[in-house]
Subunit: 302 residues, 2 copies
């Protein structure tokens, strides 16, 4: 996929100030909007994931984007494209999963059903910005602290296990199939912060989020690897540090906020003068430019 | 596609008051939202339709839903799923078509790009309800007049020509590939009507729209076929009346509104006591129940 290349072309055609963040902030309407698709054999495989889990995750990935924007998720539409072998049971179970992900605060209000060769789910989520401050990945500032939430790398560990035909340990499988959305952490920040700040989710990996914020904001993020929260059992995997740093789909959150802001999460570093991301390990440190990070970008099945 | 069956299952799981109209009206946010997908070889074929036309039509079908809701379309997100043979030229041309359909009033503010086997476009459109009255297909009332806009059957004629390998007459081809959205007609109604009213577009055919409004509102729509606006050249086609009544994708609008409302369009009939739709021809009349209409439902390529 030439995703980044295509996005440059789109930006050139549209000349729009909106394209960039995961959610678009529509100030005049007081809302944010985001749309994310999950494609069979690209983002999920039906032999790994049952319809309930697919419904859950399709919604969760969009709620995560809204949470990371700082807004409060309110409404969803879901467009389903379905091959002819899909039956009523699949639909029922998919929507039960979707509804479970919505909880009590988010409503599914519409969508579309069409035919297709493969299952494709496209969800559009709308959040309200009232009583919150909307984030932008452009707004990290020198002196701000870097706070993260969630356990990093667990989803990648789960995916690796699934690819090996394993279903244990369940905590890693669940992290991949039924990721938790960091709604509470994001709400805490966006409803108490006064200044502009940067926040995004780690859907494409922790280092991708750090690097994107660093490069869009024009700051240098100095990060202590040992402070990054991860499940210690991940250390059994080969190249486990890569899972923590580059593994996608944890749907954790990275926020770069004023030092004095009182919020949950774990402080892992600080924004300094410069550009890019520095990772300090116990015995050395590694500096990542934007290009370095892009080489590692989280890949789906194809 | 078991679309209607699946929608029943979804309604049962969600127990939502929103599922029904093409747009969901989110009163607390003062917006409507809709999402519609176009799937390669289901809704379009790349040999019939160039990327510019595809971009245009993907946007137009959603703007038509927003217009028919009575709201003013403001923002769009576009999720593209693309096979590996898609190049920058395709993306550029697609977005130029999308932008052309948006005109000056609607902005594309985000979306998503993923891989897939076939081209799939899913568009989410947001409209503002301020200074307008939002329609519902449930709100036709006895005594109201039935008004339609657009030329009915032209898109079906265009599709039939394309299937025969023809590219002329261009007006029919254009009606199918680059349908006009009836924004002005819908605006006139929704910004001047005081009472509740019914309005929907004819994306699945004129009789589908009439029948849906009749059955959802619990009224009998008595329609004079001879008053329905269509291009006279369509009479050269076999079964041309079927094209006018059942052909999809004209994106005309059917509105059932108070008699005294001053609006454009053509009055084709009246809402009366009863249920269903009656079509009066010069020499006879045909009564359609909901089930009768569903038998004729507009089919895509598969």
């Amino acid at each position: 996929m030439k995703e980044k290349e295509f996005i440059s072309v789109i930006k050139e055609v549209l000349q729009s100030e909106y394209i960039g963040d995961d959610c678009a902030y529509l100030k005049d309407l007081g809302i944010v909007v985001t749309q994310d698709s999950l494609v069979e054999n690209v983002h999920f495989r039906r032999d790994f994931m049952n319809p309930f889990e697919l419904g859950y995750k399709s919604v969760a990935v969009n709620l995560s984007d809204v949470a990371a924007s700082g807004a409060q998720a309110k409404y969803l539409t879901i467009a389903l494209s379905l091959p002819s072998d899909i039956d009523n049971e699949f639909i029922k179970s998919f929507y039960e999963g979707a509804k479970f992900a919505c909880g009590n605060d988010v409503k599914i209000v519409g969508g579309d059903i069409t035919g297709a060769d493969k299952v494709l789910v496209s969800v559009c989520a709308i959040g309200a910005s009232a009583f919150r401050k909307v984030s932008s990945r452009k707004c990290a500032k020198v002196g701000y602290k870097v706070v993260v939430s969630g356990l990093h790398g667990s989803s990648a560990a789960g995916l690796r296990l699934l690819m090996q035909g394993k279903r244990q340990p369940k905590k890693f499988i669940d992290a991949h199939l039924m990721p938790k959305v960091q709604t509470e952490f994001a709400r805490e920040i966006s409803s108490s912060v006064k200044q502009d700040y940067a926040m995004m989710d780690t859907s494409d990996g922790l280092l991708d989020a750090l690097s994107t914020i660093a490069n869009e904001s024009g700051v240098f993020l100095d990060i202590d690897f040992n402070k990054i929260p991860y499940d210690k059992d991940i250390e059994q995997f080969d190249f486990w540090q890569n899972m923590v740093l580059f593994g996608g789909e944890d749907y954790g959150i990275v926020a770069v906020v004023p030092q004095e802001l009182d919020c949950g999460g774990v402080v892992v570093g600080e924004a300094k003068l410069g550009l890019g991301v520095n990772l300090r390990f116990s015995d050395n440190s590694v500096y990542y430019t934007k290009a370095d990070v892009e080489k590692h970008i989280f890949e789906h099945f194809n």
